[in-house]
Structure formats: structure tokens, C-alpha cells
Symmetry: C2
């Protein structure tokens, strides 16, 4: 190995500039740790002239990131452009094809093309590292790939989107509506002008797809994820959750089942005293259930320039030291096809909130439909509905473990019975 | 690298047997991950005939662990004998001298001889790995050494002893005395017959010494740790803590200061809503404050055969893959001498509980002494002392940040004033 490692960064947004600053600030320590001098030799960005609060004097500027990726003047390529296609994909493929190690934070690209890129890395004997793609500064990729190498993982789940966690935390703490908290998140820069990607659960799904592959040794399968966002969570749900000993979080969950792997993203009731329930605001957290270690939880910043740069630089340092891990922990030929367990086969507890007509026998009808489907109830709360016409009551049920398809059948029948006035709110419960 | 890696394990207690089982159970997965077949080729234990619920059929038995360490029939040596001297040290030195990589869970040995062993490993181009020595199944060594390679650590602190955390948790939850909870812990096998090593804070100190070296790039300095155990924590303190918004945990804390590094182990008040306060029972947790990642917390099992074996096997897998990290993250020549910041220079908030004589002016005297030392008070609680003679009151003070030596001076003066009846209880407050 050469004494110097020349790094090229494509994309100089918040994260890219933070990586440039960190490489300089930690230059001496990184040399001591890795035995090599890590130098920023090239950068690429849309606007060469923009002020970035980072010293780029050692770096050659490339208008075209693909040219940077192919340049003989760099030994390692860092992709921070974003997006699953276009220049991001083109330059990562180019770098790998030239046998250059790649570090990326691009979850969308990995969710869509992770297997293809891992195979390309393998063919060209180049590293492909992506610690920064999931949960920002939390070293969850390293933990799953290396730290738990002796474990068989049963389940991995986490709060993977800070925007959603911020909104849900604020709704509870300030007793505000979803819409109000979303506006506040947008004002503070925690949510985009078009927030669909975050609040719809799609960002969480991309990250979950990566975690699933690492945890279960399966080929990445982002299209096999059942996704629900947080748009329909109301303050009534959040308050009912608190009353019943739960807190609502948007979780990504991947779980081994008898037939395969279940991957799902949805608002989830977690026990109020669980470790994951304590994670408030923009923080992220990931919990792993595995046979040897039992349960491990990591909590930290899921986004932000410095935290994400911390993960990027850790990957750079590993590559500088010559660490060679298969991108998803196993050679691509050994990654198994993921057998999807469909959502209707999901087993677990359920929170169900219905607006029932306040007529004689309405509740009896609901209870009967549940009983017919052998769904047993842990808690029942019935009360006048806040701010609603006097002829409606809120009925809240917490079920014992049952099957999703039984819940769906029972709710369809209750709907047909005409005893509820709108679609029932259903939130799955996740046990520790 | 040869396709097969032959492992020798010295010490077949709970952890050793669990490692043997895990290597067998995960044999296929480990081969897929590392590209090598990992075989248990040799074992050593005091009693060859003992039943261990582990298949040792592939392993040659060695009466003498040093002979196993030197044997040409093994490629990697796992030391699980324990103790800082004697056979454990002899066989680790032998294995390293023979150029064989060593994996150990031996915190006492590392705290005493870590630098010497790291230098020996370096000279002989052999790996020395010890993930299992701190916080059992939590991959904290890997996180500090590799995952945060781009960070400058400001502080690392944690709950590193499950016995103490179990006792403190039970005292609060069941409103029992320290002595009752200790007995219960002994009955359940969480505490030794002679519990001094755990409850006196010495076990925590060994682990902290290792974390400090990894976090700050300093030579291990276990003798430079200020240690207080949990023996003097009373139910009155635990209840007062809860009332004031805190919970008491035995923490190991290493913190960068203006002059050097402060290393301390003591009962600590942590904010009731902090991540670390939620960690109850035998669990361990470590929080790292660092410049780029800001704050990262890892929570998991700190002991137990399987969890500890998980860490041992992860080290074995890394070595099988050819990962080469300096044991403490830096070449030993680059590890700096640790400049100790003495405890009297410690800056922070304090909880002080005193039994004051219920005479006119007693409290005024106490308040005056505090004011003379420029110690400002955040909270003051005074109340009749439970079960004590009527002429005493409990005075509880929470101070704003101040210096340890000022607190000590003020308390000495209060003592001399004759207004308190016994030594004041002092518990440091740790801010998130």
C-alpha cells in the first residue's frame, strides 16, 4: 500500500463539505490510526465557486463527477451526490470499474442497485462502503457486518428517519396536530418542502432494505417492503397510546419468520419504558435481536453534516487500513434470495381505534366480530369523541397477538355492519 | 492466508464453552463471512473430564494452557482463564511471542499490562483483540477504534458493571436497602460471595482504563482512576434523586480536560430522562461524546456466556478476515502518556446530603459556608429524617457546577462548625 491515499469527493453539500473539513481536522490522527496520509485530491460539484467553509486547496476541481471517479489522480472515491440514478450511479459504477474503492451515503441507490454494485465491487476487487447510508453517525453497518459476525439475527428494527421522529415527539410533547408539527419541522429545516419521501416512510424503507440484507444475508429487496407513513397518526392516537402504556414511533422492522423475512415500515406502538421509546426528536436508534447477543440498541444522530461525515471518514479509514469486508457481509453469490412474508401473514398485537355510532348494540357487534375471528382483547377503552358530534364514541381496542388477515377480515365485517362511521385506525404493536 | 484457521481456547468456563458452541453453530456463516473455515483445534482447562454442553470433539486437550498457546497446531489463541497474572498472562505472552493472534476477555490483565501486551503484539506482527473485555456483547471497542476513527472524543462514560446496576435498579424499584439487594444479587448469581470487586467499583475501573486508552489515544493508566463504590448509597439517596429528577448509576467516566484526562468511577446522578438512566438491571451502556458524531449510546448485555462469546467470535472473525488494527487504535509508540487530572480539580454539579442538628442557625451556617466558597445552589430540600431521632433533619443540596476542592473545603468547615452529625453523602452529577 502506498503511503498516501488520495481521496476524491463528488458532491459538496452539507455532508461533502463536512467530510472535507473532518479529513483536514483529523489528518494527523488518521495517519496515526491507518498508517497512511489521507489527502483530499479531487472534488466535484455543480458550482465550483460556491463558498463551503472547507479548505479545498489540495483538491483538483472536476466539473464532471464521472471524470473524477475515473481519474488516475485519486485512490478512493466518495459519492455524496445522491439519487438512485443519473450522475451518482454513473460515477460509482465508473470508480468501481476502475478498481477504486467507493464510499457512499446514498441509500436510495443502494436500495435500488445494492446487489449490482456489490457484484461490481467484487469483480473489480474494490471496496464498497456505506456506513453513512443508514442512521447517519450510528455505526450500525459495521455492527451488523462485523460486530455481530457470530450471531444469527432474528429481528432488526429502528427509528431511521429523524423528521418523522421529530414530528411524533412534538405532537406528544406539545399536544399539536400532525399538520402543525410538520410545518414546524419544515420551518426548522428538518423536513423538505415536499415531505412525502420522509413522512410517507420511503426514506425509512430504503434504509431498512440495507439493514435487512446485512442482518439476514439476503439480497437487497426494497420492493418487498410494506410501507405506511405517519400522515394518518392523530393526536387522539398519541394520547391513547400514552394512556395504554405505549408511545408511537415510525419503525422500520425486518424480522425472520418461519417462511422468510418480513420487512415493514409503519407507525408502531412501542412500550413506553422500552429503550426505543426514549428516543425523541431527530435522533435515530436501531435495535438488534440476535441469538448470542440477545438485544443490542444503538442511539445517535441520524442526520446532519458532521455526524454523517463521521461515518464516511470511518469507512475511508477502514479502507486505508486495508480492511476488506464484502459490502453486505457475504460474497454476493452467497446472498440468498429474500422470501417475502406478506403483511397479511404478520403476527402481533394491534391497536385499533374506531368511531362507532352511539347506538344500542354497536359495541356488542364489534366485540362479536372480533370474537368470531378469535381475536382476544387485552384492553378496551370507550369514550365520547373529542369535538365530534354527540352521536359518536371512540372505541379503542388493544388486541393480544393475532394475524393481520384476521384483523382485516374483522374490520371489513364491522364496516359492512354499519356500526362505525369512518375507516378504523390500525397501528401495529411491536414487542421488545 | 490458509483456508483453515485453527483456534485454541484456554479456559472452558461459561464463556469458553459458549465460544465453542458458537463456533460450531455459526461454522457455515463464519466461513461465508471470512472466507476461511474456523475450527476449534485445541482446548485447555483445569478439569478435562467436566461436562460443558459443548462439542469439543475436534479439539486436542492441553493440560497446560501455555503449551496450547505455543502449539504449532493452532493459528489463533483465545484466552478466557482470567486474572491479571499467572497462567493467563503467561499463555498470552507465549502466543504473541510465537506470532499468534490473541483474543481475550481479560480486562484485569489489560488494565495492568495492556501497553506491554500491545507492544509485544506489535513486535511479533500478531493481532491482540479484546472486544469481550468491556461491556460484554456491546461492540464498544470496535466502535471506538474503528467506527469513530474520524472523531476527537471529548468524554466516554458508561454503566460497565451489571451487578452494581442490578443492585441500584432493585433498590429503587423495590424500595429495598443496599444490603438486601446485594444478598438477592448473590442468590441469583449476579454477585460473587465476596462482592468487593464489583460493588467497590474495581471491575468498572478496569474496563474504564481500556475505554480511556481507545478513546483518547493514551497509554492505559488504571492506577490513575479515582474509584468509589456503591456501598454507601442509601435508599434515602435514591429517593431524593428521583424527587429531584435524577437516577443514581455507578458510572465509569473518562473526560478530556484542559490539562489532561480525568478518569473516575463513582455513584453518579444522571438526568432521569437521559438514555443512560433508562438502562436498568444487569444491562450495560456506554455513551460517547465526540466532536463529529456528537453523542452516541450503545446499550446491551454486559455479561453472560453467549453475549460475551458473541464479542469473542466477532474478534476471531475479524482476524480470520485479516483485519489489522493496532490493539488500542494507534501504534504503541504513538500512545501518549496520560496526564491525570486529579479528582479535586473535577468540575461539575454535586448532590450533598447531610444530617444536620435541628438547632437554630444550623442551616444558615451550612448556606454561609457554601456561599463563602462561591458554591451556588440549584435546589435545597430540608426535611425530618426518616426513623432518626427527632433532633436531626436531612438537608439535601444540589449545587450548580463548581469544583470538587471547593465542595470538600466547604464540607470540612461545616464539619468543624459542628452542625452536622455524620459525614455528608456526596454524589457527583453527570450532565448529558
Amino acid at each position: 500500500m502506498s503511503e498516501i491515499m488520495r481521496v476524491g469527493i463528488a458532491g459538496l453539500g452539507t455532508v461533502g463539505a463536512a467530510v472535507a473539513r473532518l479529513l483536514r481536522r483529523q489528518a494527523e490522527a488518521l495517519t496515526a490510526r491507518t498508517g497512511r496520509r489521507i489527502v483530499l485530491a479531487g472534488v466535484s460539484a455543480r458550482d465550483a465557486a460556491k463558498e463551503r467553509r472547507a479548505d479545498l486547496s489540495s483538491a483538483e476541481f472536476f466539473q464532471d463527477p464521472v471524470k473524477l471517479a475515473a481519474s488516475p489522480s485519486i485512490d478512493l472515491f466518495v459519492e455524496l451526490i445522491g439519487g438512485s440514478e443519473g450522475p451518482a450511479r454513473a460515477c460509482v459504477e465508473t470508480a468501481l470499474a476502475h478498481g477504486k474503492p467507493v464510499v457512499t451515503a446514498n441509500k436510495a441507490m443502494l436500495a435500488a442497485h445494492g446487489l449490482h454494485l456489490a457484484a461490481l465491487a467484487e469483480e473489480n476487487h474494490a471496496a464498497l462502503a456505506f456506513e453513512a447510508s443508514v442512521a447517519g453517525g450510528i455505526p450500525i453497518v459495521k455492527t451488523l457486518r462485523e460486530g455481530l459476525a457470530g450471531n444469527s439475527v432474528e429481528r432488526v428494527y429502528g427509528i431511521l428517519n429523524g423528521t418523522c421522529n421529530y414530528i411524533l415527539s412534538r405532537m406528544e410533547q406539545e399536544q399539536l396536530s400532525f399538520e402543525e408539527c410538520l410545518k414546524e419541522a419544515q420551518r426548522l429545516g428538518y423536513a423538505e418542502a415536499d415531505p412525502t419521501f420522509d413522512i410517507g416512510g420511503f426514506d425509512t424503507a430504503h434504509k431498512l432494505a440495507i439493514l435487512t440484507s446485512l442482518a439476514f444475508g439476503t439480497r437487497i429487496a426494497a420492493s418487498a417492503i410494506d410501507i405506511e407513513g405517519i400522515e394518518r397518526v392523530t393526536l387522539a392516537d398519541i394520547d391513547a397510546a400514552a394512556e395504554l402504556g405505549y408511545r408511537i414511533k415510525l419503525l422500520g422492522v425486518a424480522q425472520r419468520t418461519a417462511e422468510g423475512v418480513e420487512q415493514r415500515v409503519h407507525p408502531t406502538m412501542v412500550g413506553k419504558n422500552s429503550a426505543i421509546a426514549q428516543v425523541m426528536g431527530v435522533l435515530n436508534a436501531v435495535t438488534i435481536d440476535a441469538d448470542a447477543v440477545h438485544e443490542l440498541t444503538l442511539v445517535g444522530p441520524g442526520a446532519g453534516g458532521d455526524a454523517t461525515a463521521s461515518a464516511v471518514v470511518a469507512d475511508i479509514a477502514d479502507i486505508a487500513k486495508g480492511v476488506r469486508s464484502a459490502p453486505f457481509g457475504l460474497p454476493t453469490a452467497k446472498l440468498a434470495e429474500l422470501t417475502r412474508t406478506p403483511m397479511r401473514r404478520h403476527e402481533g398485537g394491534y391497536y385499533i381505534r374506531m368511531s362507532a355510532r352511539d347506538v344500542a348494540g354497536a359495541f356488542a357487534k364489534i366485540a362479536t366480530r372480533m370474537a368470531e375471528r378469535r381475536i382476544s382483547l387485552e384492553s378496551i377503552v370507550q369514550r365520547g369523541k373529542r369535538g365530534a358530534p354527540g352521536d359518536c364514541v371512540d372505541v379503542i381496542l388493544i388486541t393480544h397477538a393475532t394475524s393481520e388477515h384476521l384483523v382485516r377480515e374483522a374490520l371489513d365485517l364491522i364496516d359492512q355492519d354499519g356500526v362505525i362511521v369512518s375507516r378504523a385506525q390500525v397501528i401495529r404493536i411491536e414487542r421488545e
